[in-house]
């Protein structure tokens, strides 16, 4: 197994990696209702390294302090969906290691990419018809007394003003 894929698997375990809509962009991996995100490695760093070198990962980590497989990855979605996506991404990197380079921002600084241009913004989530004091209801009693009763009671009225 490619060592990069192995390092990715260490993040996500051995879940089944069947995610048909897997998509890799600089800083983002999406698919299966989950998202993985990590900061990209600055274009200036990519300009200084030889991406074809067998020592690429070591150079990035030790010389530039920018590990190719990031130490922390932001995960959005249920635990199962995230694990599947992670495994699918590791499988994809196993097959095509340049996907990891893309995830980490390689090619972003190319003359062809425009740092001022963005993509299509996602639509805002639908408005939930939830009573205003749902969060205090979820929190339950705090055991913290205020002049207006338990803290959660004092705050329930505040939530109605939002």
């Amino acid at each position: 197994m490619h060592e990069w894929a192995k390092a990715l698997r260490a993040h996500f375990g051995d879940a089944d990696g069947d995610v048909p809509d897997l998509r890799v962009e600089p800083g983002l991996v999406t698919g299966g209702g989950a998202t993985l995100a990590a900061p990209v490695i600055p274009a200036g760093v990519w300009a200084e390294v030889d991406v074809d070198s067998s020592m690429l990962a070591q150079t990035l980590e030790h010389t530039w302090e920018e590990p190719l497989v990031p130490g922390e990855i932001t995960r959005v979605g249920s635990a199962e969906a995230v694990a599947s996506l992670g495994a699918a991404f590791a499988n994809a990197v196993e097959r095509d290691a340049t996907l990891l380079l893309r995830f980490r921002g390689y090619g972003e600084g190319d003359a062809n990419s425009n740092p001022w241009r963005g993509g299509e913004l996602p639509s805002l989530p639908e408005h939930e018809r939830r009573p205003p004091e749902s969060v205090p209801n979820r929190l339950g009693r705090s055991g913290i007394g205020t002049g207006a009763g338990d803290l959660v009671e004092a705050l329930a009225g505040v939530y109605r003003a939002f």
Binding site: E25, P26, G27, L28, T30, T35, A37, A38, P39, V40, I41, P42, A43, T74, V76, G77, S78, G105, E108, S113, N114, P115, W116, R117, G118, G119, E120, L121, P122, L124, P125, H127, E128, R129, R130, P131, P132, E133, S134, V135, N137, R138, L139, G140, S142, G143, I144, G145, T146, G147, A148, L151, A154, L155, G157, V158, Y159, A161, F162
Partner: protein, 922 residues
């Protein structure tokens, strides 16, 4: 095209690449410098640009829109955070999956330029920006809606949590210093983490809510979480919007729960004629008759949660108690209480019926009203109480204290003529003439006081004679002792015990001997004093026994041998702290009645009024804790005028206070002139002052607990005051005194200006001033003596006698603690406050040593204040508090200084740059 990027220093930089967007600020973006505008989070929240937006600006505004939406849905939680030693109340952003996904997708769609200051990490940009926007938007909405919780004060019970909720609803999140937030922060973090990290797995049950609308009622079906019935949502929400809102709160199959419970409840409601929809039950309308049927017949049978209209429960009907009181033998009164809600009377039977209901409701004032069950039960207990009492009970009843204890409000009050007269202010002042056996002619106002002391005294009521210093409280008390013996015969009364400060004990004896030679007086003091049986025999054969507070504490066993007719405590503020051994000892003495004399019933806080009143009339003001909650805290901390008026109404029949300015007091005292004399520090004083500040401030800051901190503050202030007096008072080096203190030199100048035939008093709170006395005497060429606490009674008496004679010392330095009260020193007409006590009441008492009956010359009072130091600043603070002091309410002691917050403290002790004599420095 308008670009916008987010900067880690918490601002948005708005600019255009072609320079068309005007702005004075510049920022390097992707290696080029652009002109534009920095927008704070606050400004960005209201930013509505007209220009065409580039992708970067659209991305940031998209995050803003998401934040607005999340706040509208209440997806926020309270957060208490420490940043750099300061504490903040934030609204945290709740990252629901749909929010987080949208944020990450927004980051992915944003152009790389937005993360130019975040190492290209666009997710980091939105993660940094979003919570700041959420907090600001939440805060702005609450402020706009006028929502305000808690209090910004950082003292009193629950101060941290009150300051925290106040911070959440304030425009800015920073919390005031002075409260201990750390423990609260941990509790809040644990509560929020646990609440948000999991959804409780518990089923929904059913409940009914009755709602009042315009002219009709609606009975609604609700779902209540079975583990916590306070968590409830209307069934209509389930039918109209689906299960999302329910699934957010409980991990269960809500539809299955409803089906199961409705199978049981539905048929029962149908039997009573309530036609809910079978498939999707939500609500039915009720007319007045249906509602009445529901409340009387259906409601008592139901075991599910039922909510009555919010207006009923949030403002439950108060039960009023009407009082009719009639005087009986000996000024005792019979009380007849009638309870009602609006116009509907409640007798015991009706109350019992209400008490048996789960939701007590009655129809009164033309509408349905809920009553709290505990109120009904307390009302029943109230009716079982005694229906007669003394004047004290009457005052408590009329003022609402009796009813307060039972959650009732006092309604209509009808008193017969005799009782009305007792509570009438004017009744106090029916004068009684000077008794025959007295060698002194009472002034007219003293005759009124004499009449008042007799009237309440004959009823066995405790009272406070709180006339200003110098108005002759002692002669009024002596007149009372004489006149009651003249009226009822000497044998009708046991002895009166006068307890007073040692410094005035002999004065008491002398005044009795002088003004009422017929009274037998015994001084219980000194090594030769009597004990046990010998004491008891002499005491019983006396009309008055005079002793000091110390002796009364020490010889409690002896004093307890006597059943005193009256205990009279002079300078009653000495018992203001009920926890002291002194105060506790006095309470152990048996007496038929009690009188307190003081010029200042409140020096520091209202708790002192409670202590004195509770000694005189136990129970009048309730327990100490209750009094604190009901009066002291609202009046002193919240300036609650209503509570103040109520308290005045309660204590007013038991306090007689006249000031020298009262029109009825025709004393003809000579005029008094009060001056502030400013002086400056020497270079040595300034250096020492600064060293002291530098030494203590870090210690003050290091204390987290209030008491340790207060101790450090008071220690620092004490040292600074001594530096202002003279460096030698702090250093004790035994060096020369001349030229080292601007204040001492100023005092010498002022004393030299006193005419040779006049005498002066110099008040200080530091016994170490004694070291300066010989220097003063030498500089003035006059005899200067020092009256302080280490003198024994005989030495004090001798010194006072000497000072009173024209040949005696011309300047008397008096330690405030030893001689600030009770002494009669009209021989002096110049008063100097060398250092400030920072309690106007104490200074006033000291001044009154000279400005009192017997004073024939104009009196001049000088307060010495060192410029540019804490003395000047605290003086300014005191001036601002003088109005309160005048109301005898919240005169301030020195302890309040210990509670100043750090900012105010730094400001108070900071040495002004021009505070010392530059010439001397040069």
């Amino acid at each position: 095209m308008l670009e916008a990027i987010w900067h880690p220093e918490a601002y948005v930089f708005a600019f255009s690449r072609d320079g068309s967007y005007a702005g004075d600020e510049t920022l390097d973006v992707l290696g080029d410098e652009y002109h534009g505008r920095f927008l704070t989070v606050d400004e960005f929240c209201g930013w509505e640009p007209d220009e065409e937006l580039a992708d970067s600006a659209r991305s940031l505004l998209h995050v803003r829109e998401l934040a607005r939406r999340a706040v509208s849905e209440g997806l926020v939680f309270p957060q208490l955070e420490e940043i750099g030693g300061d504490w903040f109340a934030f609204w945290g952003a709740m990252l629901e999956p749909k929010i987080e996904t949208t944020l990450v997708a927004t980051a992915a769609a944003a152009p790389p330029v937005i993360a130019d200051y975040f190492h290209g990490d666009r997710v980091a940009v939105v993660n940094d920006l979003y919570p700041r926007l959420v907090d600001r938007i939440a805060r702005d909405r609450l402020v706009a809606a006028g929502v305000s919780l808690g209090s910004s004060r950082t003292f009193g019970r629950g101060r941290a949590v009150e300051a925290f909720v106040h911070g959440l609803t304030s425009a800015e999140p920073e919390l005031p210093h002075g409260a201990s937030y750390r423990t609260l922060a941990k509790k809040i973090e644990r509560w929020v983490d646990e609440g948000l990290s999991r959804i409780v797995a518990a089923p929904w049950g059913l409940g009914l809510h009755l709602e009042e609308r315009a002219g009709y009622w609606v009975l609604q079906l609700w779902l209540h979480a079975e583990d916590d019935p306070t968590v409830a949502l209307p069934a209509s929400l389930l039918w109209s919007a689906g299960a999302d809102a329910f699934d957010f709160l409980r991990d269960t199959d809500v539809h299955a729960d409803v089906r199961r419970h409705w199978a049981d409840l539905g048929p029962r409601l149908r039997e009573h004629g309530y036609a809910f929809d079978e498939e999707r039950p939500d609500e039915v309308e009720l007319d007045r008759e249906d509602t009445s049927y529901f409340l009387r017949r259906v409601l008592p049978e139901l075991t599910i949660p039922v909510a009555l209209p919010t207006a009923w429960t949030t403002r439950p009907a108060r039960i009023s108690a009407d009082l009719e009181a009639r005087a009986t033998q000996g000024y005792f009164a019979n009380f007849d209480w009638n309870l009602r809600v609006d116009d509907v009377g409640l007798d015991v039977d009706e109350l019992r019926k209400l008490a048996s209901q789960r939701h007590p409701v009655l129809e009164a004032g033309g509408r349905w009203q809920a009553v709290r069950r505990e109120d009904v039960q307390r009302a029943l207990a109230f009716l079982e109480r005694s229906h007669s009492g003394s004047l004290i009970d009457l005052v408590r009843a009329v003022s609402g204290l009796e009813t307060d204890d039972f959650g009732l409000q006092v309604g209509r009050v009808a008193l017969d003529e005799k009782l009305s007269g007792l509570l009438d202010d004017d009744a106090k002042f029916k004068p009684l003439p000077t008794p025959q056996g007295m060698e002194f002619d009472l002034f007219r106002f003293q005759e009124s006081g004499h009449g008042w002391l007799r009237m309440l005294g004959d009823l066995g009521i405790g009272m406070v004679l709180a006339d200003d210093m110098g108005l002759g409280k002692t002669v009024q008390a002596i007149a009372t002792l004489v006149s009651e013996r003249e009226q009822f015969g000497r044998g009708a009364f046991g002895p009166t015990l006068v307890v007073c400060p040692l410094s005035v004990a002999r004065q008491w004896v002398k005044e009795i001997e002088r003004f009422a030679p017929g009274l037998r007086v015994h001084l219980h003091h000194g090594k030769e004093r009597l004990h046990a049986r010998e004491f008891a025999e002499v005491a019983r054969a006396s009309d008055v026994v005079v002793t000091s507070y110390d002796m009364a504490t020490r010889d409690l066993d002896d004093l307890q041998l006597i059943e005193w007719d009256r205990i009279l405590i002079d300078e009653a503020q000495d018992v203001k702290n009920p926890q002291t051994r002194r105060a506790r000892s006095l309470r152990l003495l048996r007496s038929r009645r009690r009188v307190a004399m003081t010029g200042t019933p409140i020096e520091n806080h209202l708790g002192e009024l409670w202590a004195i009143m509770d000694f005189l009339n136990p129970g009048l003001l309730g327990s100490r804790e209750w009094f604190h909650r009901a009066f002291a805290e609202p009046i002193q901390l919240d300036d609650d005028r209503e509570a103040l008026e109520r308290l005045k109404g309660i204590v007013q029949p038991f306090i007689l206070r006249r000031t020298k300015d009262d029109p009825q007091v025709e004393l003809d005292l000579p005029p008094i002139t009060v001056m502030k004399d400013y002086c400056r520090l020497t270079v040595e004083q300034a250096a020492l002052y600064q060293q002291t500040v530098d030494l203590w401030l870090p210690k003050v800051e290091a204390h987290e607990d209030r008491f340790g901190r207060r101790g450090a503050v008071l220690a620092m202030l004490g040292q600074l005051k001594q530096v202002c007096n003279h460096p030698e008072m702090l250093l004790h080096e035994g060096g020369p005194l001349e030229g080292r203190s601007g204040k001492l030199e100023r005092l010498v100048e002022l004393l030299l200006m006193v005419p040779p035939q006049d005498k002066s008093l110099v008040f200080t709170q530091y016994v170490r001033f004694g070291a300066l006395v010989p220097y003063l005497a030498e500089k003035l060429g006059k005899r200067v003596e020092f009256f302080h606490g280490s003198l024994n009674a005989a030495q004090r008496e001798e010194l006072l006698r000497e000072f009173a004679s024209p040949e005696g010392p011309q300047v008397l330095v008096v330690s405030l603690r030893a001689g600030g009260r009770g002494l009669n020193l009209p021989a002096a007409n110049h008063v100097f406050h060398f250092d400030r006590w920072w309690n106007p009441a104490v200074e006033q008492q000291a001044t009154d040593r000279a400005h009192r009956l017997g004073q024939e010359k104009p009196v001049f009072v000088h307060s010495l204040i060192t410029e540019g130091t804490l003395e000047e600043r605290i003086d300014q603070l005191l001036e601002s508090k003088r109005e309160l002091v005048a109301k005898v309410l919240a005169a301030t002691g020195e302890d309040w200084l210990g509670d100043l917050d750090l900012g105010a403290l730094r400001e108070a002790v900071a040495l002004a740059p021009d505070a010392y004599e530059q010439e001397a420095a040069a």
